[in-house]
């Protein structure tokens, strides 16, 4: 049986998930030059809040379709994440603007640890199941199958990328964001309220995280206080692969990473004559990442360098 189409589709779905999270990473990075290590945890909180909200809504026995229920709970998760993002920015990053580059990295790690443990205190140590209300009947195309929610993920990551690209490159706010990223003090001289711009970037990033959290937990059927770490790491790698700070790069990087992982896991064995197996899937993915960066030091779609001696 030819499994290649299915493998590519698997990669595409996984990649879209990475892309969805990578967008948030890259947006914040593009503005602040900051690796927001806590982004994965915001994704996790988004997932947790959605599931809680969903369970609550289900308990009320409203005459709503499952999709509507999920949409409503997403609408509850979004403000929570937006507030959380704003709070993180306000208290953990803003005071460190202009501090040595690594200082906010450390607070980001601190925020991650705090959020993981707070989540565990609130939602417990268990894995939380995503209520099984979404259609689970796979859709077939050719020899490949996928779930409806996975289709939504693919479409969503493309749509959100488009929307963000428009926002960042076609609007005044977007231009101000990029200006503030490069030189906050000069941006101020142009009349940009850097605090407001940065906060709005965090809010948008966190809304993206909420969406990603819902999609991830719906797809895998579960959420956990520590789910954000690995996802965040992969998404961050994807963002770098595509050229961090570049929105289209985040999506390209995400998709590529997903497909590489998928094909890696599926074919390393055959490629090496059975010598290596899928245990080297991540090695393979990182190797591709490294090779790409060695030849394109600022990622696939990394911006032209504006540095000159």
């Amino acid at each position: 049986m030819d499994v290649l189409p299915q493998q590519l589709l698997n990669g595409l779905i996984l990649g879209s998930i990475y892309a969805l999270i990578a967008l948030g990473y890259t947006l914040v990075y593009g503005i602040l030059g900051l690796i927001n290590f806590a982004h994965g945890e915001v994704v996790m909180i988004g997932a947790m809040v959605t599931i809680s909200a969903l369970s609550w809504l289900l308990g009320m026995h409203l005459p709503l379709s499952p999709v509507m229920l999920v949409a409503f709970s997403l609408l509850m998760a979004i403000p929570v994440c937006a507030l959380l993002g704003m709070g993180i920015e306000r208290f953990a990053y803003r005071p460190l603007r202009g501090a040595p580059r690594l200082a906010p990295l450390i607070t980001a790690i601190g925020v991650s640890i705090v959020l993981q443990n707070v989540a565990m205190m609130i939602w417990g140590r268990q894995y939380i199941p995503f209520p099984a209300i979404l259609p689970s009947e796979p859709i077939h195309i050719g020899s490949a199958t996928f779930l409806p929610v996975q289709g939504v993920i693919i479409v969503l990551s493309a749509v959100l990328m488009g929307a963000l690209l428009l926002l960042v490159h076609r609007t005044k706010l977007g231009r101000a964001m990029r200006a503030a990223a490069q030189s906050p003090s000069v941006a101020r001289l142009m009349g940009v309220s850097v605090d407001r711009v940065v906060a709005s970037a965090f809010v948008i990033g966190s809304v993206l995280a909420a969406v990603a959290g819902v999609m991830v937990s719906a797809n895998y059927g579960q959420a956990h206080a520590y789910m954000g770490f690995m996802l965040g790491l992969k998404a961050f790698s994807a963002a770098v692969l595509g050229g961090i700070g570049n929105l289209a790069g985040a999506v390209v990087g995400g998709l590529l990473l997903g497909i590489i992982e998928s094909l890696g896991a599926g074919y390393i064995g055959d490629l090496t004559g059975g010598f290596l197996g899928s245990q080297y899937q991540d090695v393979f993915a990182f190797l591709v990442l490294i090779i790409v960066l060695v030849f394109r030091p600022s990622g696939l779609l990394g911006e032209r360098s504006a540095d000159r001696p």
Partner: protein, 362 residues
């Protein structure tokens, strides 16, 4: 000199170590609760050692599933003068910690570490109330071929000491029983996407898929098998025999087969009562709570028989254990492993683990 309670009972501190934060925290806490319940039961009974009434106290520490933390915690227990340790949860932490307990001469009973090497180190103070990978792997391998009729077998393991150890032993036993391993794939204990390896496995058309790993991976794996239309029988070890697995995999759990060392709780004298008391106090049993409960019970009884908490004596008495616990009848072989432990195989049906068969392992 151990202290006493206000009403004159001698206080005996028991150490417990498991990951209480991180991804395995729910299982760690479950272990802790098992010991907690045992201690509550013992204290309520007015337990006596050498005619002196005693009061057990629990000192539970988080080893974060990190080998270094495990030795640190172990040293802390030694310094604090705990009388014995129930733990650790993982093989990777039990191994280095056991050295510390051994050189301090403290008794250690692991409720859940399954690596055979734990008891192969020649440490007289090391025991476990859980079947090791060889015992469980053999039962599973034979069961897969003989009872489930599998000929073409696929294996996935999560590359942890537990998952890999169990999968390796399963592979050996399945081969010995006449099965053929046609594909072996790997994942990690942090992964949640298995579509790539499942797709590959689907292409090989096995008639059984064995997974060596835990519920956090097993459940999405079962779901993804369903979504990919992979209708192969899924078989796993104790790692997926959890309430959590049922909840997470939902209807995809149906038909999954998993083993659990010991006899079904319901068939044992104290089983149902234990279950009921545990669940009213701590919620659903995750996985190893009954084992840590038993571990604490046999420890207390060994102390009672020894008439002392002196480690050397307790250790001698422990070796002679013969006790009907909530998991099975517990006896030890010369190494400290379960002697002739029973292993039960279950099938998931409608959210319940239903007993398929109980197998006596040698």
């Amino acid at each position: 000199t151990p202290s006493t309670t206000p009403d004159g009972k001698r206080i005996i501190v028991i150490g417990h170590a498991a990951p209480l934060t991180g991804t395995q925290a729910h299982i760690g806490k479950d272990n802790e609760n098992g010991v907690r319940l045992a201690i509550a039961d013992l204290n309520a009974k007015g337990f006596k050692i050498g005619d002196a009434p005693v009061h057990f106290e629990l000192d539970s520490q988080d080893d974060q599933a990190d080998p270094r933390m495990a030795t640190t915690v172990a040293q802390k227990f030694v310094d604090d003068g705990v009388q014995a340790v129930i733990g650790h949860l993982n093989s990777g932490t039990t191994m280095p910690a056991s050295r510390v307990y051994n050189s301090a001469g403290i008794v250690e009973i692991s409720p859940s570490a399954t690596t055979p090497r734990y008891t192969q180190q020649g440490f007289k103070n090391a025991f476990r109330v859980m079947a090791n990978d060889i015992q469980q792997g053999r039962v599973l391998g034979e069961f897969a071929v003989d009872d489930l009729g599998a000929k073409q077998i696929a294996i996935i393991d999560d590359r942890t000491a537990y998952g890999q150890g169990l999968a390796d032993e399963f592979e050996k036993a399945a081969k010995a029983a006449g099965g053929k391993i046609i594909v072996r794939e790997y994942t990690s204990d942090k992964a949640s996407d298995f579509t790539a390896i499942l797709t590959k496995i689907k292409g090989e058309k096995p008639d059984l898929l064995f997974f060596g790993g835990m519920d956090g991976q097993g459940a999405p794996m079962a779901k993804q098998m369903q979504a990919l239309g992979l209708k192969t029988q899924l078989l796993g070890g104790d790692g997926i025999h959890t309430a959590e697995f049922m909840k997470l995999a939902a209807q995809a759990a149906d038909g999954v087969v998993a083993s659990l060392p010991g006899r079904p709780l319901e068939t044992l004298a104290n089983g149902p009562a234990f279950k009921q008391r545990f669940e009213t106090q701590y919620g659903k049993i995750q996985l190893y709570a009954p084992y840590s409960y038993d571990a604490m019970m046999i420890l207390a009884q060994a102390m009672q028989r020894a008439g002392s908490t002196e480690p050397a004596k307790v250790q001698q008495e422990l070796a002679k254990t013969d006790y009907n616990g909530v998991t099975s009848r517990i006896r030890f072989d010369a190494k400290g492993d379960l002697a002739q432990g029973a292993i039960t195989v279950y099938r998931a049906q409608d959210g319940q683990w239903q007993v398929l068969k109980t197998i006596e392992s040698q």
